[in-house]
Symmetry: C2
Subunit: 116 residues, 2 copies
DNA sequence: AGGATAGTTAAGCGTGTACTAAACAAATTA
DNA sequence: TAATTTGTTTAGTACACGCTTAACTATCCT
C-alpha cells in the first residue's frame, strides 16, 4: 500500500491549482502569460526545455483552470484565466482570516495592557 | 538526462511555499493550524496516515516557512507563520496586478463603447 | 524503576512527475 | 508541390514524493 491520499474529495480544483503552481517552470509560464497572451513557442523560448515538455505543462495549467488556450491556424494562443488564480488567492486569504481572527483577540489584550 | 529544472535560481523560498501547498494533506494541516497552535498528534488525529508521515509533512512545511514549531517537554507545538502565506499571496497578487493592468486598458475601451 | 505517551529517524516500496527523443499532423510560405 | 513552421503524441527514463514499518529516544506518570 502506498501512493497519494485523498482526504475530503470535495475541492478537486484547488488541489490542481496549487499543484500546478508548485512547479517553477509552470509559474514562469504563468508570469509570462500575465503580461499578455502568447503562443506556445514564444512561451517555450526562454525555458531551456523542449517544446514537448512545454505542451505537457500547458495541459496541466489548462486542466487546473489557471490558463485558457485557443488555436487559430497552426498557432495556439495561451492566456491567463483570472478565476483560476482567485481560487488559490481565496484559500490563502481564508486561512489568513482565520489566523488573524485568533491573533486579533490577543492583539486587543496587548493593546489594553499598552494603554495601562 | 532528466529530473527537475532550475530556471532563475533567485526565489528559493517561493518555490518551497507553493510546493508545500500543493499537497492536500499539508493544506489540511495548515487549515488546522490556522485555527490555533496544535501538537503533532492532534494534527495527525483526523489524517488517516501514520504519525511518521505527519512529521515528514511537518518538516516540509517548516522548511517552506509556512509553519513554525517549538518543542516543550515531549510535545511539539505547531503554528502558522503568517509571513509564509504572504509570500504566496504576494506572488498571486503580483500576477493579477500585471494581468489587470493589461485587461484594464481593454476595460476602458469596452466601457467607452458601453456609454455609447 | 517500569510503563505509557509523544515524537523522531531510517530503510524501503510503488507511484507520480518532468523530461527527452522521435515520429507525426497540419497550416503556411516559397 | 515541396519545404518550413508550429504544435502534438507516444514511449521510455531517472528521480522525487508520499507512505509504511520498525527501531529508537526522551519525557511524563504511577
Amino acid at each position: 500500500m502506498s501512493g497519494r491520499q485523498r482526504i475530503a474529495t470535495k475541492q478537486v480544483k484547488i488541489d490542481r491549482v496549487f499543484h500546478a503552481l508548485g512547479d517553477p517552470t509552470r509559474r514562469a509560464m504563468v508570469e509570462r502569460m500575465s503580461q499578455g497572451p502568447v503562443s506556445v513557442s514564444t512561451l517555450a523560448g526562454p525555458l531551456a526545455i523542449t517544446l514537448a515538455a512545454v505542451v505537457q505543462h500547458l495541459k496541466i495549467l489548462e486542466a487546473s483552470g489557471l490558463v485558457r488556450t485557443e488555436k487559430l491556424g497552426r498557432v495556439r494562443t495561451c492566456s491567463i484565466e483570472a478565476a483560476g488564480l482567485s481560487v488559490a488567492e481565496q484559500w490563502i486569504s481564508d486561512r489568513r482570516a482565520s489566523w488573524e481572527r485568533r491573533f486579533g483577540r490577543l492583539g486587543v489584550l496587548l493593546a489594553e495592557e499598552d494603554r495601562g
